[in-house]
């Protein structure tokens, strides 16, 4: 549904996006993840035709955004990062204006109006001026605006920013419901946000896509980078010596020694499970008791940090090996 190829955007001398490529299939949700200023909004602005790309290509439903922007706009519902509300207007007038501006008339407009009011849960604030609405209701009104013309594609830039936890859950649920029939791209800099809404992510940092794929795969990759911890009832020096002899085990460091047992941490180059098994076998040979052996669950924050560091350690080049499985399977 959306295809982005080598998309770059310069703001004067500053390169905001650098050769970003990805694809989103029909009825798929893609999460845009990255710190503030990473280029998420810029990419969205180009997809929605608000900005023109410096280089590269964006196709929405097969239509090039630079060749027929009006046809692309018809297919897209867009909630920008700055919610585009006319504060002096009443919520219902605002939504009617947006509907009309998107070509809805008469019965169609009434039907869609009723639908989005219901979906966004703003029925009881319709007659209020938008500047009297709370942040949560403003955000919902902005979302209703993006939905009014029943677009097949939704682009939501930080749709949950500034909302309280309850409102965040509601918006997330709405996004998931909408994904049954729509293609959605939404961005966030909050990592837990992604994993509770979608499986597919693209991680952007400094204008580059440093990783894309399923969250589970990225977590597994990051898992490999994490150190293994072991606690053994054994003499410290013997443990250190033994571990260092195991193939693949590197950077053994003793975390602490207490009441006869020693805690160590080490990294594994290669098969992490095999290395763990070896550690267990050695311990049994020596008659040591293993209290703990394994890695901790990887949080998305750790995935993110490991990816950012990896992309930096490659001299700023995009970490090609981090860009594994393509996102599209729609």
């Amino acid at each position: 549904m959306i295809r982005v190829e080598n998309l770059s955007k310069d703001y004067g001398p500053v390169r905001a996006l650098d050769a970003v490529s990805f694809e989103v299939g029909r009825q798929q949700i893609l999460g845009f993840l990255g710190p503030n200023g990473a280029g998420k909004s810029t990419a969205m602005k180009i997809i929605t035709t608000y900005l023109a790309p410096t280089a590269g290509k964006v196709l929405v439903d097969g239509i090039d955004v630079t060749e027929d922007p009006i046809a692309v706009r018809r297919r897209i519902g867009y909630l920008p990062e700055t919610n585009p509300l006319y504060m002096d207007m009443r919520a219902d007038d605002y939504l009617r204006f947006c509907g009309q501006a998107r070509g809805l008339r008469g019965e169609d407009l009434r039907r869609r109006f009723d639908f989005v009011v219901e979906a966004a849960g703003i029925g009881h604030v319709l007659k209020k001026q938008i500047n009297q609405l709370s942040k949560g209701f403003r955000q919902r009104t902005g979302l209703a605006q993006a939905l009014i013309h029943d677009p097949p594609v939704l682009i939501l830039d930080e749709p949950t920013s500034g909302l309280d936890p309850l409102q965040i859950i509601e918006i997330r649920r709405l996004i998931q419901e909408l994904a049954r029939e729509k293609t959605i791209i939404f961005s966030t800099h909050i990592l837990s946000e992604i994993s509770s809404t979608t499986d597919d992510v693209i991680i952007i940092n400094n204008g580059r896509a440093i990783a894309k794929g399923r969250i589970r795969d990225l977590q597994r990759d990051a898992h490999r980078e994490l150190p293994v911890r072991a606690s053994l009832v054994a003499p410290r020096d013997a443990v250190e010596d033994e571990l260092q002899q195991i193939a693949g085990v590197e950077h053994v460091s003793v975390l602490g020694e207490r009441e006869g047992h020693v805690s160590v941490e080490f990294r594994v180059e290669g098969d992490i499970v095999a290395a763990q098994r070896m550690v267990g076998e050695r311990a049994r040979e020596h008659g040591w008791t293993v209290l703990e052996l394994g890695t901790s669950e990887v949080t998305l924050e750790e995935v993110f940090i490991s990816l950012v560091q990896r992309s930096k350690s490659h001299d700023g080049r995009p970490a090609a090996e981090a860009v594994r499985a393509g996102v599209s399977h729609g």
Binding site: T48, T49, R73, L85
Partner: protein
């Protein structure tokens, strides 16, 4: 309703959704009417020369205030992204916004129609001159407003849009005044006359106001208006890059 109409309706209502419209109307009518009336009885002439004569100068301040919000506000509050991602052409939005400002000015101008009514009651004025005077005022306003909407598209800040639009209009106003024309002609022969004929407002406006509705004068205002609306559209398209 076409796209222009949809934009027009929202923008026109926006004037009256805030207090600016009412303040503007009151100040415009009080000032224009008051200054004219204060000399009306002294002059004792049943015409509106004094009224129309004041307009180019006063509109320098009034009309940039009408147009300053047209784009600057959208840029500031973020609705620019909404407008520019609507399935409409940029020129449709420009014209819709522009017509809203023009209609607003036309209403303010219509509010001064009490003056010709009063003059007709107390004297025997030249109706033709008054009709062409109003036509000229509308054309003059159309030009200032086109400059104003173009300038508003360049700024995020309404005050900046106001001041710069005022400067632009001031240039076109002064370029046609006898003093500037004579002085410029003194420096470079012919340049002052060129300014008067093709750039400055005064000559064209004075002709129309006197009742001389020449095609050249009308064309001057219409083409200047069109020029700035096209520039506005171009600056919006250029913003994307």
């Amino acid at each position: 309703m076409g796209n222009v109409g949809i934009i027009f309706r929202r923008e026109f209502r926006a004037y009256f959704d805030s207090s600016i419209a009412y303040i503007f109307m009151i100040v415009f009518l009080l000032l224009m009417g008051g200054i004219y009336m204060s000399s009306f009885f002294l002059a004792g002439a049943a015409d509106m020369r004094g009224f129309f004569g004041n307009l180019p100068l006063f509109n320098l301040f009034f009309l940039p205030a009408v147009t300053m919000r047209l784009w600057a506000e959208d840029k500031r509050i973020g609705t620019m992204e909404l407008l520019m991602t609507l399935p409409m052409k940029a020129q449709e939005i420009v014209v819709g916004k522009y017509l809203a400002a023009l209609a607003f000015y036309a209403i303010a101008l219509a509010g001064t129609l009490t003056i010709p009514v009063m003059i007709s009651a107390v004297g025997n004025p030249d109706v033709g001159a008054m009709v062409s005077g109003y036509l000229g005022s509308l054309l003059l306003g159309a030009f200032y407003l086109a400059v104003g909407i173009f300038v508003s598209g360049l700024f995020k800040d309404q005050i900046a849009a106001f001041v710069v639009a005022l400067m632009f209009c001031l240039f076109f106003y002064f370029a046609g005044t006898p003093l500037v024309v004579a002085t410029t002609d003194g420096w470079i022969s012919g340049l002052g006359t060129f300014l008067e004929n093709y750039v400055g407002i005064s000559g064209h406006f004075d002709d129309i106001q006197r009742g001389v509705v020449d095609v050249r004068n009308v064309l001057y205002f219409v083409s200047m208006t069109a020029l700035f609306l096209v520039l506005n559209t171009l600056s919006l398209e250029g913003r994307k890059y």
